[in-house]
Amino acid sequence: MKTHIIKYIAVAFLFLLAPRFVFSQCRISGTVKNNNGEAIPFASILLKATGEGVKTDTTGTFNLSTNAKGKQLLLVTSVGYKSFRKEIALADSSIYLDIVLLQSDAQSLHEVIISAGSFEASDKAKGASLTAIDAFTVAGSNADVALALRSLPGSQQIGEADGLFVRGGTGDETKQFIDGTLVKNPNYPAVPGLQQYARVNPILFNGILFSTGGYSALYGQAMSSALILESVDLPAKSSAYFSVFTANLGAGIQELAKNKKSSYGVTLRYSNQAWYNSIISQRINYFSGPEYLEGDANFRIKTGKTGMLKFYTNWNTSNVGMRNPDIDSAALRSTYQVKGMNSYNNLSYRDYLNDDWKLEAGVAYSYSRINTIQNLTDADGQTINLPNYPFNEKNNHRIINNDFAQARLVFTLMFPHNQALRFGAEHFYSHDHGISNDSTIALTDNLTAAFAEGDIYLANNLAVKVGVRTEHSSLLNKWVIAPRASLAYRLNDGGQFNFAYGIFYQEPQNDFLYQTTDLNFSSATHYVLNYTKKAHNRFFRIEAYYKQYKDLIKTEPVISNDGKGYARGIELFFRDKKTFKNLDYWISYTYLNTKRDFLDYPGEIQPNFATPHTATVAIKKNLQDINTYVNISYAFATGRPYYDIRYDNASNASRIYDQGTTKNYSVLNLQVAHLMSLFKSWKQKPFSGFSVGVNNLLGTNPLFGYNYSANGDIKMPLTLPARRYYYAGFFMSFGINRTSDILDNNNN
């Protein structure tokens, strides 16, 4: 026993001294084999710090003697294999290693990546996978991410409201995230019956994950869909651009530091539709705007070898005022004006703490102020107050200020073979204060969430992702636990089956919480089954899902969580970049069967934002010889139901007084862009071009539904503000070719 102790002490002593005194050489020996157990000859073994190295012999064995001591990085490389690195502790003894090298591409190429329920568009795209620019440059998308993604399966062709209506969900059930943090107000303040655009400039992003179901435990508070945006790290070069379009002006710079370790950028955009509307007559009579001013700025700093610190700030104002005949009295006018101001700020940091640990942190702060004025006026614009219903509810003024802050921390522990464990927590603070007519509004919510998720590879062709998320809302004073799971199974021909399951909770909208906080989270449970195959510049995807809604908000007879519903459907997507030279097209088909009982619905009915069949086509043609791009998108959808739902005093319940189905929706958008070289003699030749386009080229008159008068006698169609929307403009960029940001650049 005693001798043992002495031995231990001696060993410990030697170990302590080892780094300081060199008493002899250390011998590292071993074998290098591939994963079939075959020896790899001529593989090189290198001690990184000292540069000492040997090669394996024909039997794959090696012998390396070194004077180096302490922790050393050993690097093993061989042609056709992934390099292998290992930290070894060298002491005064010999080390024996059995090293297995993985074949380089055979392995990485056939990796299974879980993809049920989501479309990824990123700068890592290969073949016919989508890139962010592919998605943004769909004709008619007006530089709005949400509009662009309507050409993918899963979303409805909604023209009278903002946001993405995904798989039987409302626009409010889709949330956008930038570098992990929530974008509280992605669109300009809502105007009834008119679509408002996104505040965020899409060219800042090089990765989009559009999840239409079953998304990761890292995200929450979106019952239907998550739109996860990743901003560009450092730009490749410094650049500047400006553009002049019919109703928009834009300019920006992006400056990359000389040492290529940091960058900053500023862009400014102004849009005013008034001039355009004075030429192309609109169905709606505007007395103010629509006018939008937005600016954003960013900086990005590379910290250390692997760290990245990014800051993004976006500031904007909007003003839309319209005056139209009042639906309840042809002699009177109804005015609606909304002035918005919004600022979104996001600071994010990510770094590898060492070879195994990765850290991602983010803080966001946003402020919004929405000032809504609603008036009933006479033909001269004088406000009129009438005592009886419905006119007594037509003069309103509301100012809502919202402060929103979020902090988020995610750790990733990486394991061999791309396995990983992610966990973290986030906190959302939201404070609303303002006035609604004579009453004041104040609402504060603290939502805390913690989550963990593991990527596990059960076999070479079978991967699972298991996660759980828990959320607590101080306002609702409730805890919820949301399990998530997905699985991917790869076939030998490159096809892949995916399955996803998850529960997704969402707090009721503030409009309901102003009235009562005695509510619960609403929830949706998703089941998604999908098959994808990507090969030879073609991409095919088919997905089926079932979704169950619980605890949706009902407003009648009293505000409660008694609503429920379901959605199920099948979606197809096919993209082909191969068949026709320089022509890229994709087609999508969406089948949706959904019913829900929520808000004032008298029971489970098909909601007015859902139609069974939707099909879209996006075509991008590059006429290389004349430097011209033709961009076409087409969407077809069957009619949507519309209802006149009112409270029936006799039966003390909601009742459908009138209903029907709109005609089919069919809209074709066209964009043609031409690139030119101007100022060839300049040292930095700018890239210039012009772009012209028409949305709804065929001039169909899509009907989205009806607005009903209070007594139900009059119904006014909800349609586009004008049959067609035309635009034309010129752009010029300096430094780098940024034409691809404006259109799909398919050439060399």
Partner: protein, 214 residues
């Protein structure tokens, strides 16, 4: 005496095996001259990779293996992601070939390797123009320029320059007339090359390019 016989035999064995290896390479190169399809080149790549493993000091087997992968990349240019494994393998092989060359005394050989390296980077651009183009397009140009500098009279470098001139839109510096001129020049230079183990490919490629003018 016995020792002498044994060492003599040993030397003979060595020479024979070296000779056998040379013949292996020559046979493979002769076969490569007849390769036309992706399948042909894939089979040849395997053969060259095997020879490379047994002749770790010779740059040629790695160079040829890399060339096969580059050719596959060009033949599959409309196939997107299918190209990636070939590009990756070709890149490692080309880098290996480069490392086996003396940078000062083997400039012509380096020019051959850089030409293939340029093709390999261009094959990556085919994977996805928008995501791989901005990074690998300029790299392909860079390697081509390096190859031109080391040896302006290499018909394979001239062929590749012709290919780029043909396939780049006019606005970005493309020139179809110049491409034709370069390809014709390259083809002429290749008329009387021997068919030994040294790089002599290019005829097929030049003809392929020139056939687009008819």
């Amino acid at each position: 005496m016995k020792k002498l016989v044994i060492s003599g035999l040993a030397i003979l064995m060595c020479c024979l095996s070296a000779l056998a290896q040379q013949t292996n390479l020559q046979n493979a190169v002769t076969k490569l001259d007849k390769a036309r399809t992706v399948k042909d080149y894939a089979a040849m790549e395997q053969e060259f990779a095997k020879i490379a493993a047994s002749q770790p000091k010779d740059w040629l087997p790695n160079y040829y293996a890399a060339y096969c992968n580059a050719r596959i990349g060009f033949l599959l240019q409309d196939d997107g992601e299918s190209i990636e494994p070939y590009s990756n393998r070709g890149e490692t092989q080309a880098k290996k070939a480069e490392s086996l060359l003396d940078k000062v005394n083997q400039k012509k050989e380096l020019a051959e390797v850089y030409t293939v390296m340029s093709m390999i980077n261009q094959s990556k651009v085919f994977i996805n123009m928008m995501t791989y183009g901005p990074k690998y397009g300029p790299l392909a140009q860079q390697y081509l320029n390096q190859a031109k500098q080391l040896n302006p009279d290499n018909p394979r470098t001239i062929y590749l320059a012709a290919w780029f001139k043909y396939n780049t839109p006019k606005m970005w510096g493309g020139d179809k007339d110049l491409a034709k001129q370069l390809a014709t020049q390259s083809l002429k230079m290749l008329e009387n090359t021997d068919t030994g183990i040294n790089p002599h490919w290019g005829k097929t490629e030049d003809q392929e390019l020139l056939s687009k003018y008819k």
